[in-house]
Symmetry: C2
DNA sequence: CTGCCTGCAAAACTTTTGCAATGCG
DNA sequence: CGCATTGCAAAAGTTTTGCAGGCAG
């Protein structure tokens, strides 16, 4: 089952970095893996709280960073003043259309983007870690 | 002269939208046009203040939004918790490499990106307003 | 003159930090 | 047991907002 593999991956990552394996970290992982779509830190906090979890905001932020670092979730900064996250486990590269009307985030896959990236980085002698292509505009529903 | 054309463009934009033409807006425009590279809102505020300008933070934010809307500056959200701006006037499309080591922002031009964008938007029936391709990684200096 | 725009200060919001308590290794 | 991690609350930092006064049209 996917969720178990994610758990395994986190545990391995923690151990190999001499970080402690705590139940809080798995609670955050679970909430993140169960979330369908893009979520904010405070959203996870609310969800966990509603499930009577005692995980604090500080731990959420701490753990989200860990999860980003071990590749289990992506972190995005779109147009506004907060970070959005999404499950990365088992997903391949994709990018986003962001609707300025309704705020919807639409994903797309376009393999050529990675080719371009390699090309650019080679030219600039730049070692890429990750990248994002964001297109802002209006989705089908929001065009007048 | 370029600066006069930018001024003209702003004035026209303001009038056509029934916004008022104020000296504060031109002070912000000037500071933005004189800035070489990427700047933050508070940086402009400091610069203006050091020049004995009385423009307030509120007006800076207000005006930066106006300038973005009339195409005189670009607004970017990179990895961190603030907005960065840069002159757009007289510049063509370019994208950014952001160094995770030293924070440098390196620009690059890659015309094919716009072709891809058109392709994607057509497929998704999405009307693009603007877009950004950001590559995070390590620049020449910051590779070990 | 009308009401948009400004400056100031406070508020709002996300994220980070300090500290004592907890519990992993 | 030692110390990384946690919860809580406060702090930090950017951006927004409310309000009284000022100035563009």
């Amino acid at each position: 089952m996917n969720k178990d593999k994610a758990k395994e991956q986190l545990e391995e990552y923690l151990k190999s970095h001499n970080y402690r394996v705590t139940k809080e970290r798995f609670e955050v992982l679970n909430a993140a893996m169960n979330y369908n779509g893009h979520f904010e830190a405070d959203e996870l906090f609310a969800i966990l709280k509603s499930k009577k979890s005692k995980v604090s905001r500080a731990t959420i932020y701490n753990t989200l960073e860990v999860l980003v670092n071990c590749g289990l979730i992506f972190k995005h900064r779109f147009n506004d003043n907060l970070s959005r996250y999404e499950k990365a486990f088992g997903r391949s590269r994709h990018d986003h259309l962001i609707c300025l009307g309704c705020g919807d985030i639409i994903e797309f896959v376009f393999p050529q983007i990675e080719v371009i990236q390699k090309d650019i980085c080679k030219k600039q002698n730049f070692v890429p870690q990750n990248s994002t292509f964001q297109i802002f505009g209006y989705c089908k529903k929001c065009q007048k």
